[in-house]
């Protein structure tokens, strides 16, 4: 957490993302045109969110095994920053859809878009995590119950984001396979920026989380004597 190299890597990758994201050539896509560049920003928010939530659930399980409050602090802060990324992803997605989907899809199709509904459900499940935490005053009980809840929330995350939209008819690309790895949907030019962008944005999220964790650890030093 105190090492410097990954923070420098984060700065380099994000700089590369912005420069490459705006200036490199992109494949011509119907409907999307130049907005395909949102792949480096909007989509990366969701990938960042998934990675942060995954880290969070790992710490939740760790807490249940160790009963150390330090793990609970890690888990809750990864979830908080994950939600920020999710909300950013949702907002940017709404803007992107307004200028692309509305050209060919009807309102009902957009309202029914399973990935939008799924993402909304996933985020609401995670909002409830904080409602649950807020309603418990006993520190150990709060940590234990919310850690268990976090596992259930995580179990719903991937079905709502990935599985349901593929079973139902989705406007999002990638119904037939994996859009991030599929050669038809994202060609080499996109991947050259897309993968570094995912790592860069995720590292930014981890950086923010690490600051929040360190602050919490200072604040709660009295109860965290391990």
């Amino acid at each position: 957490m105190h090492k410097k190299w990954w923070k420098i890597l984060c700065v380099i990758l994000l700089t590369y993302t912005v420069i490459g994201g705006f200036l490199f050539s992109v494949p011509a896509r119907e409907i999307l045109h130049e907005t395909i560049r949102n792949l480096y920003f909007h989509v990366c928010m969701w990938f960042g969110m998934m990675i942060l939530f995954t880290t969070s659930v790992v710490y939740s399980i760790k807490y249940l095994r160790s009963q150390k409050l330090r793990d609970d602090v890690y888990a809750v802060n990864f979830t908080k920053v994950g939600i920020v990324f999710g909300v950013l992803g949702y907002t940017t997605g709404a803007l992107w859809a307004k200028y692309t989907w509305t050209e060919f899809a009807s309102d009902t199709e957009i309202f029914r878009e399973p990935k939008l509904l799924g993402a909304a459900i996933a985020l609401l499940i995670y909002f409830a995590y904080f409602v649950l935490r807020g309603s418990l005053t006993d520190i150990d009980k709060r940590a234990r119950i919310s850690a268990v809840y976090a596992i259930f929330a995580y179990a719903m995350l991937f079905p709502t984001l990935w599985i349901l939209p593929r079973i139902l008819d989705s406007l999002h690309p990638g119904k037939e396979g994996n859009p991030a790895l599929n050669f038809k949907d994202s060609d080499a030019r996109l991947r050259m920026v897309f993968y570094p962008a995912i790592i860069g944005w995720t590292l930014l999220g981890v950086w923010i989380t690490s600051l929040k964790i360190r602050l919490d650890l200072i604040k709660e030093r009295s109860i965290l004597n391990d």
Binding site: T15, I19, S25, A28, M192, R214, L215, R221
Partner: protein
């Protein structure tokens, strides 16, 4: 080769097929923002976004240092 090295190699190999870059097709010429590119004004956008990004990152570094100081004081 460790697992991490293997993973990095896989990621890097994904980036290699640069030779697949196609020429700008007709559709691309029709729809992509060539005007911003040709008069060079896209660089203004890149500069603005970079300033915002560096501003935010500098702020993050500052916070990082402040928290670091706080940690030293408390310990």
């Amino acid at each position: 080769m460790t697992k991490i090295q293997l993973l990095l190699a896989i990621i890097l190999f994904q980036l290699i097929p640069v030779s697949l870059w196609a020429q700008a097709t007709e559709a691309q010429q029709k729809y992509t923002a060539f005007e911003m590119r040709s008069n060079g004004k896209i660089y203004v956008v890149v500069a603005v976004v970079l300033i915002i990004l560096f501003g935010l990152l500098a702020y993050l570094v500052r916070l990082d240092r402040k928290i670091g100081k706080l940690e030293k004081e408390k310990n």
